[in-house]
C-alpha cells in the first residue's frame, strides 16, 4: 500500500496532478476559515464553545457538514458546494420533464456541455438566494437559534455590509465551482466530490475530539469500534457487484478474428452511489430555507406544519420522509444512468449474448429484472445507513453528535475508493508503458 504511494510520487506526471489537487484543496480550506467582511468569527467560535452543541442537532448539522463548518462561521466560502449540488439535482430532474433538455442530453458532448453551462448559471442563482437567506437569518440571530447575541459577531448591520456579504459569498461559490472544475481537469479524481470529501474530513477531527471530551472512555471506545465496523461494512457494500457473464461470438472481419471472448457486465449493488442520499438531504433542506425566508414566527399554516415536522432531524415523520426519498431516488437514479434496452442493443450489435438468454428484448428484460432485484437491497441499505446517526442520536441522546454519521461515512468511503482507483489506473498506465518499452 505504501509502496504504491511512493511510486505515485515518483512518476512526475502523477506527482504534479496530486500536488495540484492538494494545493487547490488547501486554498479551499483556507477560504472556509476566512470570515466574510463585517463578521467576527472569533466571537462566534468563542460563543459556540459556551453554548456547545446547540447547533449540531437538526438539519443544520448536515448542511454544516457539507460546508465543513464554514457555514456557521459565516466564512467567505460559507455556502460551499451546496448550491452546485442543488443545481445539478434540479437540472437532472428537469431533464426528465423538459423535452428540450432531454434532446440536449441525447446530443452527446456538445449538448452535455450546454447542460453543464445551465447548471453553472443555476448554481449562481441559487447561491444568491441562499446567501441572502443566510445573511437574513444571521441578522435575526436565527442562524444560531438565538443562542448568540447578534451584535457580537455582526458589529454593524447597515445595508451596505449586508449586501457586501451576499456578494462575497456568491462570488465564493463561483470560485468553489471553478476549483472543482480545475481539479477534475488537471488533478486527480472528480473535483466536486473531492471538495465535499475535504469538508467532511475537515469536521471529523473536531467532532471526535468533542466526543472524547464529552463521553466516558468506554463509550468513546465503543463508538470508535462501531464506526470502524460501519466503515468496513460500507466498503464491503460499495464494492459488492454482480457479474453477469457475456459471451461474444467469434467473427471474421477481413483476415482477422474478433471476439470469442467472455466478459461480464458488472452491476453494483449500490449502483447509484451516494447521490440519492445527497439528493434527499438537500431536498429536505429546502423547507428549512423556506422557513428562513418567511420568518420563524409566521402564522402561516404551511410554515407551522414545516416547523413541526421538518425542522428537528429526529422527528419520525422527517426520518420516514428521508428514508423513502432515498429509496425512491436510488431507483430513479439507477433508471437514469443504466438503460437495459440500450445495453442489450449494443451487445446484440457486437455479437454478444448472455448465456441462456436470447439477445435483444429478452436480454433487456433480464437485465432490468436483475437490476431491480439488486437495487432493492441496495437502496434499503443506503436509507438505513443514512438514518443511522439520527436513530443513534434519538435513542441514546448523545448530544455531541455521532461523528460516524451515515452520510459522512458514505461520502468518505465512496469518494476515497473512487479517487484511489483513479490514482491506481494512472499508475498502471505508467508502469505498463515502462514494461513494454
Amino acid at each position: 500500500m505504501l509502496g504504491a504511494f511512493v511510486r505515485a510520487f515518483r512518476t512526475p506526471d502523477l506527482r504534479n496532478k496530486l500536488l495540484f489537487t492538494l494545493f487547490i484543496l488547501t486554498i479551499f480550506r483556507l477560504g472556509s476559515v476566512i470570515p466574510a467582511p463585517g463578521i467576527n468569527s472569533a466571537a462566534i467560535r468563542e460563543q459556540m464553545e459556551a453554548v456547545q452543541a446547540a447547533d449540531t442537532s437538526g438539519i443544520y448539522a448536515l448542511v454544516n457538514l457539507f460546508s465543513g463548518g464554514a457555514l456557521l462561521q459565516l466564512a467567505v466560502f460559507a455556502l460551499g458546494i451546496m448550491p452546485y449540488i442543488t443545481a445539478s439535482i434540479i437540472i437532472n430532474l428537469l431533464t426528465v420533464v423538459i423535452p428540450r433538455l432531454e434532446t440536449l442530453k441525447k446530443e452527446g458532448q456538445a449538448g452535455q456541455s450546454k447542460i453543464t453551462q445551465y447548471t453553472r448559471y443555476l448554481t449562481l442563482a441559487l447561491a444568491i438566494l441562499q446567501s441572502t437567506s443566510i445573511v437574513a437569518m444571521a441578522r435575526t440571530g436565527q442562524l444560531f437559534q438565538g443562542q448568540i447575541p447578534v451584535h457580537t459577531y455582526m458589529p454593524n448591520q447597515d445595508i451596505l455590509t449586508l449586501v457586501t456579504i451576499v456578494f462575497v459569498m456568491t462570488a465564493g461559490t463561483g470560485i468553489i465551482m471553478w476549483f472543482g472544475e480545475l481539479i477534475t481537469e488537471r488533478g486527480v479524481g472528480n473535483g466536486m466530490s473531492l471538495l465535499i470529501f475535504t469538508q467532511v474530513i475537515a469536521v471529523f477531527p473536531s467532532s471526535i475530539a468533542g466526543l472524547w471530551e464529552e463521553e466516558e472512555t468506554w463509550l468513546f471506545t465503543l463508538i470508535c469500534v462501531a464506526g470502524l465496523v460501519l466503515i468496513t461494512g460500507v466498503v464491503f457494500m460499495e464494492q459488492a457487484q454482480r457479474r453477469i457473464p457475456v459471451q461474444y461470438a467469434k467473427r471474421m472481419v477481413g483476415r482477422r478474428m474478433y471476439g470469442g471472448s467472455s466478459t461480464y457486465i458488472p452491476l453494483k449493488v449500490n449502483q447509484a452511489g451516494i447521490i440519492p442520499v445527497i439528493f434527499a438531504s438537500s431536498l429536505l433542506y429546502l423547507p428549512q430555507l423556506a422557513i428562513g425566508l418567511m420568518g420563524e414566527d409566521s402564522e402561516n399554516r404551511v410554515v407551522r406544519f414545516l416547523q413541526d415536522y421538518f425542522v428537528t432531524g429526529t422527528h419520525p415523520v422527517y426520518m420516514a420522509t428521508f428514508f423513502f426519498l432515498i429509496v425512491g431516488f436510488a431507483f430513479f437514479y439507477v433508471a437514469i444512468t443504466f438503460n437495459p434496452a440500450e445495453v442489450a442493443e449494443n451487445m446484440k450489435k457486437y455479437g454478444g449474448f448472455i448465456p441462456g438468454i436470447r439477445p435483444g428484448r429478452p436480454t433487456a428484460e433480464y437485465l432490468d429484472y436483475v437490476l431491480t432485484r439488486l437495487t432493492t437491497p441496495g437502496s434499503l441499505y443506503l436509507g438505513l445507513i443514512a438514518l443511522l446517526p439520527m436513530i443513534a442520536l434519538g435513542s441514546a441522546g448523545a448530544s455531541g453528535g455521532f461523528p460516524f454519521g451515515g452520510t459522512s461515512i458514505l461520502i468518505m468511503v465512496g469518494v476515497g475508493l473512487d479517487t484511489v482507483k483513479q490514482i491506481e489506473s494512472h499508475l498502471q498506465q505508467r508502469n505498463y508503458e515502462g514494461f513494454l518499452r
Binding site: 477560504g31 476566512i34 470570515p35 466574510a36 467582511p37 463585517g38 463578521i39 467576527n40 467567505v76 452546485y84 449540488i85 445539478s88 439535482i89 437540472i91 437532472n92 452535455q112 456541455s113 447542460i115 453543464t116 453551462q117 447548471t119 453553472r120 448559471y121 449562481l124 458589529p155 454593524n156 451596505l160 455590509t161 449586501v163 457586501t164 456578494f167 462575497v168 456568491t170 462570488a171 463561483g174 470560485i175 465551482m177 471553478w178 472543482g180 472544475e181 477534475t184 481537469e185 488537471r186 472528480n190 473535483g191 466536486m192 466530490s193 452511489g273 451516494i274 447521490i275 444512468t337 465512496g414 469518494v415 475508493l417 473512487d418 483513479q422 489506473s425
Partner: protein, 78 residues
C-alpha cells in the same frame, strides 16, 4: 473608506463571477460525481482558456485581499 472598499469588493465579485462563467464548464455534472466512469480529459487548454485562467487568478487574488482588508477595517472601526 469602508464604503469605497465595499463597492470595490462588490465590483470584484461580479467580475469574478462573470470570469468563472466564461470558463468552459468541465464539471460534467452529477453523472460522474461519486463513482461514475473514468472521465478522460482530452487535449490541453487553449490560449483563450489559459489567459482566462490568468485573469481569473489575478481577480481572485485582488478580491480576497480586499475582502480581508475590508473585514479588518470594519472590525477595527467598530
Amino acid at each position: 473608506m469602508i464604503v469605497g472598499l465595499s463597492i470595490f469588493v462588490m465590483l470584484c465579485s461580479v467580475l469574478l463571477i462573470l470570469l468563472v462563467l466564461l470558463h468552459k464548464g468541465k464539471g460534467g455534472g452529477l453523472s460522474d460525481l461519486f463513482g461514475g466512469g473514468v472521465t478522460s480529459s482530452l487535449g490541453g487548454s487553449s490560449v483563450v482558456e489559459r489567459n482566462l485562467d490568468r485573469l481569473t487568478i489575478v481577480t481572485a487574488l485582488m478580491w480576497i485581499v480586499c475582502v480581508v482588508g475590508l473585514g479588518l477595517l470594519i472590525s477595527r472601526g467598530a
